[in-house]
Amino acid sequence: MNDQDESFGGHETTCEQAVALVTDYLEDALTQEDRARFETHLSECALCTEHLRQIRISIAALGQVRVNDLSPRTREDLTLLYRRWRNQDV
């Protein structure tokens, strides 16, 4: 890949470009060159660094939603559903 005419245009990365690449960065989907430019931008930009940290916190907060508690009612419904299936009732 020719890195000279890639997305950052060869020199300065703007905040808008950096922010647009956050997901590709976290997904490890950037080329080595783009990754290096992204990281250079972050090292020089407190705002984009804060933005990336907030995205990471958002992802962590989303992960907390994965709770597997069931209500007694749901357990009961599903036990019944299983019995009906066993009796070829559903």
Binding site: S7, V19, V22, T23, E27, A61, G63, L70, L78
Partner: protein, 222 residues
């Protein structure tokens, strides 16, 4: 500005193209054992599977239907589909991926979600990255809250509030964010379950996460 293409364009062909979509998750040994017990008529094995997967199935259904009772109904119907298809399941994916696919099919085929005949809602295309000047610098920079908020936001008791925020996302973003960031599935599995390309998945994930960040920022201010 010398930018020649959208920075959101996929940077690599990997995952977008010709490779057969090999699911990353296969049936793990403990689930294989559960399936064997279930096929042998062990009701306890069904209970175990329900404890592991039902809550997630309801969350996935909420990507397609609006209310919790309807999502619950879809998830219960999916269990019937699962039991009926038990003998045909070849264990080439994880039980979870299989169950979620049944949930999605149920949600769509029972016509419970308001189908739209456009592939992507307009709101899906709105960017929540922030406000930038014409030369690409922050106009409305993110307010500084990461340090003080991390303990508060990444806490179990925030879960109901976060669920409310997820419900505010447009459907495509809601589905992808739920499967990736809540349920923790791989992008390959998510593409398979939702029926979208890798590139599309990444765009929806990007916008969904950006919107959640922006909603959390509003919470910080409020």
């Amino acid at each position: 500005m010398s930018t020649t293409r959208s920075p959101l364009a996929p940077h690599r062909a990997a995952g977008d193209g010709d490779a057969e979509p090999a699911l990353e998750s296969v049936t793990d040994p403990s689930e294989r054992d559960l399936l064997a017990r279930l096929r042998a008529g062990d009701a306890g094995a069904f209970t175990d599977l329900v404890e592991r997967h039902h809550a997630g199935m309801v969350r996935v259904a909420l990507g397609y239907v609006r209310t919790r009772p309807v999502a619950e109904e879809v998830a219960q119907e999916a269990w019937i589909g699962f039991l009926r298809g038990l003998d045909r399941f070849e264990e080439r994916s994880s039980v979870r991926t299989w169950l979620y696919r049944i949930v999605v099919n149920r949600a769509i085929s029972t016509g419970l979600h308001e189908r739209r005949h456009v592939p992507v809602e307009d709101r899906e295309l709105e960017s929540d990255d922030g406000a930038f000047s014409s030369d690409g610098w922050w106009v409305a920079p993110p307010t500084h809250w990461a340090d003080e908020a991390v303990d508060r936001l990444v806490a179990r008791d925030m879960a109901p509030r976060i669920l409310e925020l997820i419900a505010l996302l447009p459907a495509g973003q809601r589905r992808v964010v739920t499967l990736r960031d809540v349920e923790g599935l791989s992008s390959v599995d998510v593409c398979e379950i939702v029926g979208i390309t890798e590139g599309n998945q990444r765009v929806l994930l990007h916008r969904g996460r950006a919107r959640i960040r922006s909603l959390l920022e509003d919470q910080m201010r409020g």
